[in-house]
Amino acid sequence: MDIATLTLTELRDALRRGDTTSVAATQAMIDRIVAYDNAIGSYLTLADESALEQAAAADRRRAAGEDGPLLGVPVAVKDILCTAGIPTTAGSKILDGFIPPYDAHAVERLIAAGAVILGKTNTDEFAMGSSTENSAYFTTRNPWDLERVPGGSSGGSAAAVAAGLAYGALGTDTGGSVRQPASFCGVVGLRPTYGRVSRWGVVAFASSLDQVGPFGRTVADCAALLGVIAGHDPRDSTSLPAPVPDYEAALTGDVRGLRVGVPREYFIEGMEPEVEAAVRAAIEQLAALGAEIVEVSLPHTHYGLPVYYLIAPAEASANLARYDGTRFGPRVAGADMIDTVRQTRALFGPEVKRRIMLGTYALSAGYYDEYYGRALRARTLIADDFRRAFESVDVIAAPTSPTTAFRVGERVDDPLSMYLADVFTLPLNLSAACGLSVPCGVDSGGLPIGLQLIGDTLQEARILNAAYAYETARPWHRRLPVVPAEV
């Protein structure tokens, strides 16, 4: 048994059987990170010491007869979730050296479930980006092709899981930041319904869109992680008080009679033909498994991008106002109080500044109605599209991204083409739906392609089961990237 190639649920079961130990699994991950992450750059902070302590503690608990949903399983956390005692930067220089005194709710849940926190993964600055190229520290590389991006903003988490540098990971998805990198890296990534996972301790980008989601090599891994992090948290007033189903138990693989909607607006000109072919083949596969394929329309899809780029920056412009050097993080001293704020805020990177300006403008007196107010109304239309579609279908199937992973540097000078990477993922964030990306093939260059499955509010179990049925029939997850050590 090569311990490093086990999936999260396989490791969990091996630990339960006593076939291996958490220390062994954790050490294996640390060894791989040391060997491979110089080339990939998935981790911003490796918490190896505390991880090994947690692993040893997990093994002791196991020896004492205890168990937990993730007891002893090493996982990674996107550096936008706060971790008590471990630096949390949100990929930004403005939080360089910031060590939160608290854990994000999702991290608390991981720890309570017995998980081992390996470290913090790279992200576009404040999760603003689709490639990790906006990280203020470095760009993460795609394990399938080091010249290519892993997607973003949760590219570090996706790459770490794909490269076998963590058994699972958490990311956040504000406009596609879990699903799109999952697609690019050939792993499973799920964006839960807004409110399913508490945002407590998640460095805010766009509060009405942000949601924590899991990455796993398999659908079952995602289901296991989601079961741990989902649930009501009274500290987040937008957290849903709905009970958490047993997501793993829902993985029956039976999709007979499942009505799968295919939205014509998600198959557009400009998408890579290989992506379209793979996604259509995947939908055929679902049909072969007994699902009923129905064409649906989400007529306001084309508003998604402009609406998102008004609402998300507007909220961000307020959320990022607290970074003024007064209470935490670095401070660049200026001539006076206001100058200090100004100088400190110069630490933001160009994409963050761009969005702060976009958002500030969209909310300004005289422009609010024309931009932000209109965007809110259009958001309702987009949400209504999904609601109406789910009156006749159970699941919507679509591509996750119009392309496979692009080259590092290819889009950095063209924000609009970068924004297009999320054109199929961000409408969902504007609605009350949930979605995931599951690997559904590769292009001629061997780069992964993702199938996006979208479910109605709190229907995570349903999309997980549909993905599981597909994955069982077409186990793309068994194909692993070959990562060169020490380039």
Binding site: Y102, V202, A318, R322, R327, F328, M337, T360, L363
Partner: protein, 484 residues
């Protein structure tokens, strides 16, 4: 102020709410003057990354009470908004406030002016928000910031521009403070900044409907400063206009010792706060049941009490206002009336004797061992002639100190008034007989000596004789001796 202008004044009142914890986190609300800086803070009220607000329902309850007491339409669907601006005392870079849908709108308050005239002042809105921290600028340079106050629940009460003078502003603000105290939501302590009053002041030609350019007045730490500062500002603006000048839109401060206003900050353009609905807080719905319950739980408000005291109880407006001023006093008085006391007599005793005794002892009426019914019992003893007034005052003082019943004190101190005419008549005869010189002088025309004889009898009884009876008997017996 010149006759050709009409004053247009609106008041913004910020009142901290006396909740146990802050508006959006569990931190205690502490005395921001006395507490050690930055000891009542947490990651939420410090605006640290990833922290989220949770609405304090108690603060909403308090806000609801105020909105109801001010006759507002209650907004069942409350939206919180972010008000964006940079300042080091504002940790998040935005203040969570209410903008489009405040909890209360379209209210009003009737205020009585010193001349007795009543004016109705419109209440534009009552909304909930959070307080900021406090900056201290050091003389040697640099600033200190204390976030103890950051996130303390704050209520903003905005009047319509219906106020016409400093005196009206004072009457309105005084009434607001009184109501806040009645509702138990604010201490009214302006010195400590828990109640902050900012008038917007402008002039317009009498008869005009348009508004003139306004100035906003800050750092008023007393009602006197409010009245004087407002009148000063009206006069200053009138002088500017009379001289053909234009009023500058600005924020002005009030200098309490020089008794004048001074320019603090020009406000040439309206600030753009970029309000938008707070995405971290879903709309807060006040269900009918909540509103109905809160309305039913409102105490009788001071205006209503004053009207009842003058109307039903026959008190003077001055007495009514004095009794109704403080809820505890008014309720004590109400309880005494309910216990059967005569309102007018009770009013006299409470406003004069009881207040004096409380002052001497530095105590509050809700902090004494004397039940309202005990004062009624004491006054009954006086009315029955069993106790004279001077003794009654002494007994009241002892009641305050010991909490004992008046009858017990009277019995223990042997203070029972002697009204028995036969016994007193013998004493009067004896006193006249014992003082032949005084009697001679009296009969010789020094009629003022009647009082002296009364005093002798009172002394002989150690003050326990009923003075009215003694007075009558002395007069009768002296008259019997000869011409008075």
């Amino acid at each position: 102020m010149a006759e050709q202008y009409e004053a247009v004044i609106g008041l913004e009142i910020h009142a901290e709410l006396l909740t146990e914890s802050k508006m959006f986190c569990g931190c205690r609300v502490v005395d921001s003057v006395a507490a050690t800086p930055n000891t009542a803070v947490c990651p939420v009220c410090l605006g640290m990354p990833g922290m989220l607000p949770v609405i304090n329902r108690r603060a909403v309850e308090f806000a609801l009470r105020v909105a109801l007491a001010l006759g507002c339409d209650i907004q069942p669907h409350n939206i919180f908004a972010r008000k964006n601006y940079f300042y080091p005392d504002l940790p998040k870079g935005y203040q969570i406030s209410q903008y489009e849908l405040p909890i209360g709108r379209h209210g009003h308050l009737d205020v009585t002016l010193p001349g007795g005239e009543t004016r109705r002042i419109g209440i534009r809105r009552v909304h909930m928000e959070e307080d900021t921290g406090k900056l201290t600028h050091l003389e040697r340079g640099g600033s200190l910031v204390d976030y103890n106050r950051s996130g303390v629940p704050l209520l903003e009460i905005v009047s319509e521009p219906d106020i016409r003078s400093g005196e009206e502003a004072r009457a309105y603000a005084t009434r607001i403070r009184q109501i806040l105290r009645y509702l138990g939501v604010n201490s009214g302590d302006m010195e400590k900044g828990v109640l902050r009053i900012e008038p917007n002041i402008s002039l317009r030609p009498r008869g005009s409907q348009a508004f003139g350019t306004r100035t906003e007045l800050k750092n008023l730490n007393s009602f006197r400063a409010l009245a004087e500062g407002t009148d000063y500002e009206l006069a200053r603006q009138a002088a500017v206009l009379d001289a053909g000048g234009q009023v500058t839109q600005e924020t002005r401060g009030w200098h309490d010792t020089r008794r004048e206003t001074f320019s603090q900050r020009a406000k040439e353009e309206a600030e753009d706060y970029r309000y938008f609905a707070e995405p971290d807080l879903p709309p807060l719905t006040l269900d009918d049941n909540w509103i109905v319950t809160a309305r039913a739980a409102l105490p009788e408000l001071p205006q209503a009490k004053e009207a009842r005291y003058t109307g039903q109880l026959g008190l003077s407006p001055g007495e009514a206002a004095a009794l109704a001023d403080d809820r505890a006093v008014a309720e004590w008085f109400d309880a005494a009336v309910a216990a059967g006391g005569a309102p007018k007599t009770l009013a006299n005793w409470i406003l004069n004797d009881l207040f004096r005794l409380l002052n001497e002892r530095g105590r509050r009426i809700d902090d004494i061992p004397v039940a309202p019914a005990a004062l009624v019992a004491l006054l009954d003893l006086v009315a029955q002639g069993a106790l004279n007034l001077n003794s009654a005052r002494d007994v009241l003082a002892e009641m305050l100190d010991s909490g004992r019943a008046p009858a017990d004190i009277v019995a223990a101190r042997g203070l029972t008034q002697i009204s028995d005419e036969a016994a007193l008549l013998a004493l009067v005869e004896q006193t006249i007989a014992d003082n032949p010189d005084a009697l001679a002088n009296y009969l010789g025309g020094k009629t003022a000596l009647l009082g002296w004889f009364v005093g002798q009898v009172m002394r002989a009884t150690r003050g326990q004789a009923n003075p009215a009876v003694v007075n009558r008997l002395v007069a009768e017996r002296l008259a019997a001796r000869g011409p008075g």
